[in-house]
């Protein structure tokens, strides 16, 4: 619980903030360029310490964030103090601290009970004034947070309407904040989701050291252990306790302390069921919720069944970033290098989206495999940062290329390309008459005359308005 100074029973809407964000995203296949400035609206609320809590997606890629108080026409400029793209939360500060005069910070409550009533406050689309909706807590479980796209956390589902613009607004119960409204489910009616207090508290605690590090991950793939034969094989009693570790992510501490076929009996204070769930404040949810109680750099006590015996392990919990390129990325501009009109950039989900809706189609199967499957199947051949030739700025020096885009770079001048710096080094340290760029997987290659490439570099950058040849 985060204590704050407001008095339950006061008008909470006075502390609910309207947020307008003017944002600009990069063009992922022309990474020196930007998309047009976009205006979007969201909500937030005042918490203690003269800060505004909102969703990360409300202020991501923000060039300017404008906040307004309840029934006050004056705009104030805010800036992002902390942003958590994994759990879709952010804290804002306002340059003019008088903004907070007369505003009581809202106080956080506990995880609401299923079937209890909640009220959302916010500034959704469809009007200018604050809007309230009422609903019941429908269920509580882990859901994917669509802002990152590849992280799941505890989520509360409600039938209170949550619409675009509600994002970042508080969900209240008895005047205590029991959640931050953040997403809906396309195709489902009367279904909105909000981020509950355990996730919010984790975020706030993480920021206490002055930076946000993120939720740590154990890197354990847990599967149900319900077949009596498998339980017998592991010499485990045939009851409803214990889920099996099927495989591990390449996290050193995890690989050192945990093994496939370990059976997790307890994570922290939570007993693990044979279906891989725990009972979390009365709700049966994925055991991930128990792992997510730990902060980064903390040790999480685990009770494990291994080779017929119970053992206790203290697992160091660290943030895992190995899968960042398969999630949505924000606020960090994409890396690139332009050489002789050839544009190289890291392979990522954001880049793949530039290929259009059917980007998973056969034509891009190599890129899809590299992005999603190689890491799990063949860690020894996985590149830390796969690089693609994403486009070619046409010029006589490269005009005869047949391979001009969407191609995974294997080698340049014989050097295996594991990251963007390798591309730069391979071109800049070459001494042969020709540059040879090889593509995966079939050894297709293209050839550049090195002298021409060097001579034309500045001209090509100028012609296409590329301000710098690289962002590393």
């Amino acid at each position: 619980m985060v204590a704050a100074g407001s008095v339950p029973g006061a008008e909470p809407e006075r502390s609910v903030i309207q947020i307008m964000t003017f944002s600009q995203q990069p063009v992922w296949d022309a990474p020196w360029r930007f998309e047009p400035v976009r205006r979007s609206g969201g909500s937030g609320f005042v918490i203690k310490g003269k800060r505004i809590m909102t969703n990360a997606h409300v202020v991501s890629w923000g060039k300017e964030v404008v906040v307004r108080r309840y029934q006050d026409p004056r705009p104030y400029i805010a800036r992002v103090k902390f942003i958590a793209h994994d759990c879709d939360l952010a804290l804002l500060e306002v340059e003019d601290e008088s903004f907070f005069n007369g505003l009581d910070p809202l106080r956080f409550g506990d995880l609401p009970k299923v079937r209890s009533t909640v009220i959302t406050y916010g500034y959704p689309a469809g009007g200018e004034q604050i809007s309230y909706t009422r609903g019941v807590v429908s269920r509580i479980e882990l859901q994917t947070y669509v802002h990152s796209g590849n992280r799941s956390f505890l989520t509360v589902q409600t039938d209170a309407a949550i619409n675009p613009g509600n994002s970042g607004g508080p969900v209240l119960q008895d005047d205590f904040v029991v959640g931050v409204a953040f997403q809906g489910a396309p195709g489902l009616e009367n279904t909105g989701f909000f981020i509950p207090p355990p996730v919010i508290e984790h975020f706030l605690k993480d920021t206490e050291d002055g930076r946000y590090g993120g939720f740590p991950m154990a890197g354990v793939r847990l599967v149900p252990l319900q077949n009596p034969a498998y339980r017998g094989y592991l010499k485990l009693p045939d009851n409803n306790l214990g889920a099996r570790v099927d495989s591990l992510l390449p996290i050193p501490a995890t690989e050192r302390l945990i093994q496939p076929d370990d059976v997790l009996l307890r994570v922290g204070k939570y007993e693990v069921g044979s279906d891989g769930t725990v009972v979390y404040e009365g709700n049966r949810v994925s055991a991930s919720a128990a792992f997510q109680t730990a902060q980064r750099n903390e040790e999480l006590p685990l009770r494990i069944w291994r080779q017929g015996k119970e053992i206790d392990v203290a697992l160091p919990m660290n943030v895992y970033s190995g899968d960042r390129n398969v999630g949505n990325q924000y606020d960090v501009l994409p890396r690139y290098f332009v050489y002789a009109g050839l544009v190289f950039t890291p392979l990522s989900l954001d880049y793949m989206r530039t290929l259009g809706q059917g980007w998973r189609d056969g034509a891009n199967a190599e890129l899809t495999f590299e992005l999603y499957y190689r890491r799990g199947e063949s860690p020894q051949t996985t590149r830390p940062e796969p690089i693609v030739l994403c486009s070619t700025l046409a010029h006589p020096v490269n005009a005869n290329f047949k391979i001009t885009r969407h191609a995974l770079v294997d080698k340049i001048n014989g050097l295996r390309i594991d990251k963007m710096e390798d591309v730069v080094r391979a071109f800049e340290s070459a001494t042969n008459t020709h540059h040879i760029i090889e593509f995966a997987p079939n050894n297709a290659f293209e050839t550049l005359n090195r002298a021409d490439a060097v001579a034309m570099q500045a001209e090509i950058l100028k012609t296409y308005g590329v301000p710098k040849d690289r962002r590393l």
């Binding site: 056969g362 899809t368 499957y373 005869n400 050894n443």
Partner: protein
């Protein structure tokens, strides 16, 4: 390809064309086509690869043309797993029993005959034409509701493409026509000759096996020279980038295509190597796009020289540029049917293989299995399984067996949702073929059957009880009405082993 049946049936329901007009048009062409075009009905077993033990009956009606005494030419498409073939003359009336005299699936050609004497009375063979010339009037003919339908078609181009029945690549004629629902061996004619058989349709585009290609195979087959279609097993890229040819130190005019990949075959060294420039193939100059000038068809992809009057095992003379000089080498065409593929076509005329153990269903991964996701299978099939088609077989993985599904039973509880997983080992033994699974199950480990799947983001391991496996399998078969717990090819090993295991 089989989806075309729907179109054909739909076409049957439509109104018949004006028969008088058709007769007039065909007579004008100077040939009585009604006496040479016949219908060929194929009744066949069709398999559901999601339930490989289940057979459906399919009836396909195609077109055939009389090409000689007691010989009807048609395509091989949908003639596998046939149970009864019949022929009909004049588009109506009695059907006569028929036999397949000769068939070659990679070439997509079949010759059908009938022992019924009266069927042949009055039928007249038609000659297969020389290559069609631009500007010729082209029509596509077929029997439709008892009348001969004649539809105009226009020459589009000759193209060298992969015809989808094997790794063989050959020239195809592309026509444009308003006709619907063709692709079942309807003859395309010009004057009084057949210029090809339509074997596929996509919108208004008809794909046609050109007569010279057909005739070369039929002639070779009659002379006993035909050994099946061959193919080039190496990969090349165009050399339109002159810097590439400079880098490879080619002197003189810019020409040729660059070899980029040659399959590794144990105990066999290819005469072609990566970075060779193909200057000539079979005496034809290769340009920087990888084309040669064909005397019959004009500019064609060099790939066509693997099937232009050459058959599997035949030598093809190559002039290559290597180490700064031109060299002559002789390349022997591998057989297309033996192409090493990690995901092979399922063998023709063979039931799908499967093995059920305790409700776990194992199947070899074949293209036919993937086609179970429909015409758009390359997009709709699970990505990881479909992606295997892009990968080459290797000694450590010459073929793939998958756990395709689990038939739920108390024995396998907890695994009911497991599906489409690549099986790596059973009881510690490596699995490449279905028969490997059967053998490995005979050697349980300490009373357990241990299944290990391919490393990745999906389930890695299943353990089941060994002592009760057979009883569980029996119970599953009874419960789900399945006759047999397995079907293996007659070779004793997985039939796909013969195709994919050789690494030729």
């Amino acid at each position: 390809m089989r989806i075309r049946l729907f179109y054909w049936l739909a076409a049957c329901l439509a109104l018949a064309p004006a028969s008088g007009l058709a007769r007039e048009m065909t007579k004008k062409a100077g040939f009585d086509w009604e006496r040479t075009i016949v219908s060929v009905e194929i009744n066949r077993k069709q398999y559901d690869y999601f339930q490989p033990w289940s057979k459906r009956v399919q009836t396909v009606v195609k077109t055939g043309i009389v090409i000689g005494p007691r010989e009807i030419l048609t395509t091989a498409d949908s003639m596998d797993d046939r149970t009864l073939v019949r022929v009909q003359r004049g588009g109506r009336g009695k059907w006569s029993n028929a036999d397949v005299k000769w068939i070659d699936f990679p070439a997509n050609l079949a010759v059908v005959t009938s022992a019924e004497e009266q069927f042949w009375s009055g039928l007249k063979p038609v000659p297969l034409a020389e290559p069609v010339k631009k500007g010729q009037d082209i029509q596509v003919l077929r029997w439709r509701a008892g009348n001969l339908e004649v539809r105009k078609a226009e020459f589009n181009r000759f193209a060298v493409t992969h015809p989808n029945m094997s790794d063989a690549v050959h020239v195809q004629l592309e026509l444009n026509s308003e006709i619907n629902g063709v692709g079942w061996a309807e003859p395309a004619i010009a004057g009084n000759k057949v210029i090809g058989l339509v074997f596929a349709q996509s919108g208004n585009l008809l794909q046609v096996l050109p007569s010279p290609f057909i005739r070369s195979i039929l002639d070779a087959q009659k002379k006993g020279h035909y050994k099946g279609l061959g193919y080039f097993d190496f990969t090349w890229q165009p050399a339109e980038n002159p810097e590439t040819l400079d880098y490879l130190k080619l002197t003189g005019e810019k020409r040729g295509a660059v070899v980029i990949d040659v399959p590794q075959k144990p105990g066999f060294e290819s005469v072609v190597k990566p970075l060779d420039i193909l200057l000539q193939v079979d005496g034809f100059d290769i340009d920087t796009q990888g084309d040669y000038v064909d005397p019959d068809y004009g500019h064609l992809l060099l790939e066509n020289l693997s099937t232009r009057n050459k058959w599997a095992g035949d030598p093809v003379r190559l002039k290559i540029w290597r180490d700064g000089r031109a060299q002559d080498v002789v390349y022997r065409l591998p057989k297309a049917e033996d192409a090493a593929r990690l995901v092979p076509e399922a063998p023709f005329d063979q039931e799908p293989e499967y093995l059920i153990a305790g409700g776990l269903v194992f199947q070899p991964l074949t293209k036919d299995f993937l086609r179970s996701w429909g015409q758009d299978w390359e997009r709709r099939a699970p990505f990881r399984l479909a992606y295997f088609r892009n990968q080459d077989p290797k000694p450590e993985r010459p073929a793939i067996v998958i756990l395709s599904q689990v038939m739920p039973d108390l024995y396998n509880i907890g695994y009911q949702d497991s599906r489409q997983l690549v099986i790596e080992k059973v009881n510690g033994q490596k699995i490449n073929y279905l028969a490997d699974v059967q053998q490995a199950l005979k050697k349980p480990v300490s009373g357990f059957q241990i299944f290990e799947f391919m490393k990745g983001d999906t389930l890695q391991r299943i353990v089941l009880d060994a002592a009760t496996l057979d009883a569980a399998t029996k119970r599953v078969l009874e419960h789900y009405g399945i006759d047999k717990d397995h079907f293996f090819a007659a070779t004793g090993k997985s039939a796909t082993a013969g195709r994919a295991g050789g690494l030729n």
